[in-house]
Symmetry: C2
Subunit: 246 residues, 2 copies
Amino acid sequence: MAQPSIIFYDIPSSSVIGHQPWSPNTWRVRYALNIKGIPFQTVWVEYPDIEDVCKKIGAAPTSPIAPHYTLPVIQDISTGAVVSDGPLIVEYLDKQYPNTATLFPSGTVALQYAFVDAHITAISPIFPFSIPRVNEIINPHSEPYFRRTREASFGKKIEEITPVGEACAEGWEKYKDGLGKVDGWFKKSGGPFITGDYVTFADVTVASWMVCLKIIYGENSQQWRDIASWHDGRWDGLVNAFAKYQ
Amino acid sequence: MAQPSIIFYDIPSSSVIGHQPWSPNTWRVRYALNIKGIPFQTVWVEYPDIEDVCKKIGAAPTSPIAPHYTLPVIQDISTGAVVSDGPLIVEYLDKQYPNTATLFPSGTVALQYAFVDAHITAISPIFPFSIPRVNEIINPHSEPYFRRTREASFGKKIEEITPVGEACAEGWEKYKDGLGKVDGWFKKSGGPFITGDYVTFADVTVASWMVCLKIIYGENSQQWRDIASWHDGRWDGLVNAFAKYQ
């Protein structure tokens, strides 16, 4: 087996989901490393420890406000580079490892950044559903941190973020509508991926969200069965197409 | 002069702005036709007449709800095709006139549609400013229609849509922040245009909004002076780069 040249910092989950990686943000880099075939070693960091670890290895904050430190972060042993933030990490890998699959082909970088913004806007109705679920699948050491920050952001108890009754059905329908927009973009591509036949960071972003929903809910959950049944099975198909990069 | 092969349906303005075209949606097609060098003839249609004209020439509605008819629409004399909706018109022109500049290069169609969505989300804080201004510069025949539909959409009198006092300054700052996001995408491109060095529909979309704001407010207005001063002069520069296509 090849020696790992990259240390990849990710956030662990508990035994509730079998300790699988679960974060869409870190999955983008995990997929990217696997697509490129770059050997890496995962270091698991609990939420309350992210800031200290980042400062210790010299990783930049991803927001200057506070400042705020997040994962994914990578450390490239061969160059000494430490890079934060999913898209920037993948740009770095494209540049540093030019003989691997390019995820930001020339001329598409700005378009792909706009795609990522449009995608998160479109799927944002998932947050009130996914965030309380994430709180159930992370480790006890991370839970109070995650709960505190998400409760502050939503202005309510984490148990009260997911709507109930009619509002729940409406919220879930809104998420389906948002995914319908993403489906509309895919339909314009003329192929299974956003550029047509080859994978770029845009696909990696969509697939990362999908694989994480499948992981946090479980493939036999009503949530994943719904999603897998929508838009002619596009989302399950995408996760399956990416299975070889997991 | 070449015979026009395209009839281009656009919405007129009054003498207040010298009867210039003013709609960002129709400007995208105007720019595209000029970039491609396809001769066209403009037919001016007032708002209350759009539906009747579209039905008469066989133009599809752009929304199935109601159904709703909008401009731009083109009629291609050489093929008999009638196409509605800016992006679809430009896709048609790319396909039908392959020896002209391609605005949706292969592999970028889905990314550009996502870009257009991300762009309109980013700049949406302009609406409370631009819509009441548009009401002042269209013809008297269109004004009651425009007023009625926009007042219904905002739930207030058109004269009350633009915020005043502190809320006005805050709203304008929000628009600047939204443009900052668009500026961030451009910075990722490594060139003056979204793909780098060549113009695509994404640039045409941004330029169309900018030229329209310059036209409806006037180049000596405080609004345009503000915009032209932001983000290292990117927006004025973009309008100037497109001047040869006006």
